[in-house]
Every structure is written in C-alpha cells, then in structure tokens.
C-alpha cells in the first residue's frame, strides 16, 4: 500500500485533462459523436490541424461550437438539447437516416461516460436498475452497438471509492463487449481479447495505485515502471 499518502490528495487527471487525453486519439478526418458531459469537452482539445466532423444523433453532421446570441436558434440543438451551430459543409437529416449512420457502422468514434465497465468491455451507463427510477436510454444503446470505436471517459472509481471497472457490471447493460478504450482520471486502459491492458498512467500515478482501485487484474503495458 505505497499509495496511501495520495488518498486524500487530488491526483491524476482533471476532467479537462481526461478530455484532452482522449482528444489526442481522435484522428484527422474522423466522424465523431460525443456524449453528454465530459465527452462533450473532447472537441475543444482535438490537436490543431486535424479536421473532425461531429455528428449529433438528432440529425446533424458538422456540428459546430456553441452559438453567439445572434446565432442562437432553438431549432438547432444537439443530442443534449443544447443550442449549437453548424459548420460550412454540414448537413441535416431525419432521425431514421441519422441512426442509419450509427447502426450502419458509419461513425468512427463515439465518446461516452460510464457507470461501470466490465473486463470484457461491457458497458453500463444508462440505469442503476433502481426500482423507482424513471428508465431513460436515449441513443446510448444504438451508439455502442453501431459505432466503430467506443471510447469511455470516466472517473476511475465512484465518489465513495468503489471500483467502476469490474469483472461483471452489476447495473443493467448498455451494450455487451462494446468498449474499446477507457480514459479515467488515473490512466488509459485498452479492452483486448486477453483482458484489460493499462497503456498509460496519469502523471505521478503508479500501476499499483490503479490496480488497487480496479476489480479486474490489469496487464501493465505502460512505459512507467511499477
């Protein structure tokens, strides 16, 4: 337990840094769908010189920044129902066509949040299964089933310190075996056929520190020493 000293400190990546780290992996020319919350921030950090086209499932390809007061149009919103703009070269289409893009494997990358991720890449991010909750799924199940690459941005553990990366999700699944990579506040983990592989650690975070907070045995493929 050589990390006890860190327990009450702010260590690892901030929310902004997680988005920034993820953004490094968004390739030039990608078609990208960003979920609500931290994933939305990824767009700000895509490195200069890369041209990325953002899809929002309510019918727009080529989503731009938030509007100025003059640009604001309540008929131009994103999947989170926030006002957005459209870039030159954008296109509008109906929901049937929009989800044909998703279901038909045309979107390259989707970045989403998570409640739990399993060793096999199962994702739970829509419901805690609580009996009194109003169930609401939106487009999450379609996105994870249809988009080529699924990136997850999430705190490594819950607010109470419980592991979110688990042998099996206890919450209802969003999709089975769908996650490709996890960006947590502590590290970057790839989901591979041979299990979860830690490929990068946040500054001053050790492999053991991450392993302690993960309910699944990780392979260490990072360059940092243990």
């Amino acid at each position: 337990m050589n990390n006890v000293a860190h327990e009450n400190e702010q260590i690892g990546w901030s929310r902004e840094e997680m988005a920034q780290r993820c953004a490094q992996d968004i390739e030039d020319g990608s078609y990208v769908n960003l979920g609500i919350g931290i994933p939305e921030k990824v767009a700000q950090y895509v490195p200069e010189g890369r041209e990325v086209i953002y899809h929002t499932e309510n019918g727009l390809l080529g989503m731009g920044n938030a509007p100025t007061d003059e640009e604001l149009d309540p008929d131009l919103i994103n999947a989170g129902k926030k006002p957005v703009t459209a870039v030159p070269g954008a296109s509008y289409f109906h929901h049937g066509d929009s989800f044909a893009m998703i279901r038909g494997n045309h979107i390259d990358v989707c970045v989403l949040g998570a409640m739990q991720v399993s060793e096999k890449g199962d994702l739970a991010n829509w419901s805690t299964g609580a009996p009194d909750a109003i169930p609401a799924v939106g487009g999450a199940m379609d996105l994870v089933a249809g988009v080529k690459t699924i990136y997850i941005i999430t705190q490594h553990t819950t607010k109470t310190g419980a592991a979110k990366i688990l042998p099996e999700c206890s919450f209802p699944l969003t999709g089975r075996g769908v996650v490709n990579r996890i960006y947590s506040d502590l590290c970057v983990i790839d989901v591979t056929v041979s299990g979860l592989k830690l490929i990068e650690l946040a500054p001053s975070v050790s492999f053991d520190y991450v392993q302690e907070r993960t309910d699944v045995v990780l392979t260490n493929a990072s360059n940092m020493s243990v």
Partner: protein, 236 residues
Amino acid sequence: MIDKRVTSCAAAVADIKDGDTVMIGGFGEAGSPIELIHALIDHGAKNLTVVNNNTGSGRVGLAALIENGQVAKMICSYPRTANSLVFPELYRSGKIELELVPQGTLAERIRAGGAGVPAFYTKTSVGTPLAEGKEQRNFDGEDYVMERGLKADFALIKAKQADRYGNLTFNKTARNFAPIMAMAANKTLVQSNEMVELGDIEPENVVTPGIFVNSIVEVQSPQQESKLVKEGVVYP
C-alpha cells in the same frame, strides 16, 4: 383539386379518437408542434398512445397533454428532461404506461412502419434488459434482436414550409422524427410556419413529399416551449 390546407389546428385534429396512437414530432422543443398539441388538449381525446422521443417539459405542449390525463401510454426513448415535471409523477403512481425504446430503434421502427416492413433485426440492445422477451437471432456470427415496425393513426408534426400538395421542408434539427412519422401515420397533420405556392419548394429539396401528408394548418409564429416553461405557463 388537391388542397390539404385546413383553417385551424382544431379542424386539423378533429378526427382523433379515444384510444388512437398518435406520433408527435420533435426532439425536446425542436420540431414540437405545440399549437397542434394544444388543439388536441382542447379536443380532449383520451386513452391515447403517444410516440415521442421524450415526454415534454414544464406544463405546456406534450407535458400538458400528459398532465391532462389524455395519454395512457408513452412510447419513447428518454422520458426525462431538465424540466420534466409531469411524467415522472404519473409514472411512479402507475397512472401512465411506458414502453422504453432505444432512440435509434424507435426511429427505425417508425421508418419500418411507414415503409411496409413489419419487423427487422438490429444489434441495438442485445445483451441488455431492453432485449428481454424479444426474439433474438444470429446472422453471420452476430446476435440481433427482432423489432417490430410501428404505425400510428395520426402524426402531428411541425414544418417550415408547406404547399397545398403537402410537400414539406423543415428547419435545421427540428426535422428529427417528422419525416418518418409522416410516413408511419394513417393521417399526418402538419403545422407549418409558412404556406408557399406549388413549385416554390424546389422538387430536389422537398424533404417530405406530399403523399405522406393529409392536413396542413399555417401557424406563422409558433410559441416556443422553452420560453413558456421559463415563464411558468400552464396549458390550458
């Protein structure tokens, strides 16, 4: 002569009956045909099954229709929103039924209903609780769920421009579910910001061809749901 124009929202919704299935366009407030919904509240048809991505916000539009006790069942993907006051309470007290459908499956079911396809297969929801009780099938090594096409007695949608044949265009992301709902309903009722002459909409740019439209009412300055919600307006 073909002239699908009607003079009021009340006239447009007059034939909706108790127990009908009604698709209502819109994703949040964008594309929500609020004047037609309010006319449906005035009309009073009950025991409706309503198909919409959400359940409305505040106490106007779709939320007001629900609050007014006219909706027995919602078919939707996301029954919560920031200002979702009405649905959660009714749902928890068992006064309204909910069929929760992933958004893309909802869209494809509506499109299938309109295209004469009674059922199709999708990967969406495989391995999740929303696949439970549904037929599953493997094609080429992948698992899929069978989903049924969805049709409606009526669709209520909002357009930007319409001509007397019923050709429609939409404004930006307010298009969302409207074109496929227009296909899936026996009768499609449209509120349009503007009526134009035949040929004013370039034939290449027609989004919904008139064949999918039955009645059009011009509502030049539709109310904006979020503004009404902010002002605390309650309909009726």
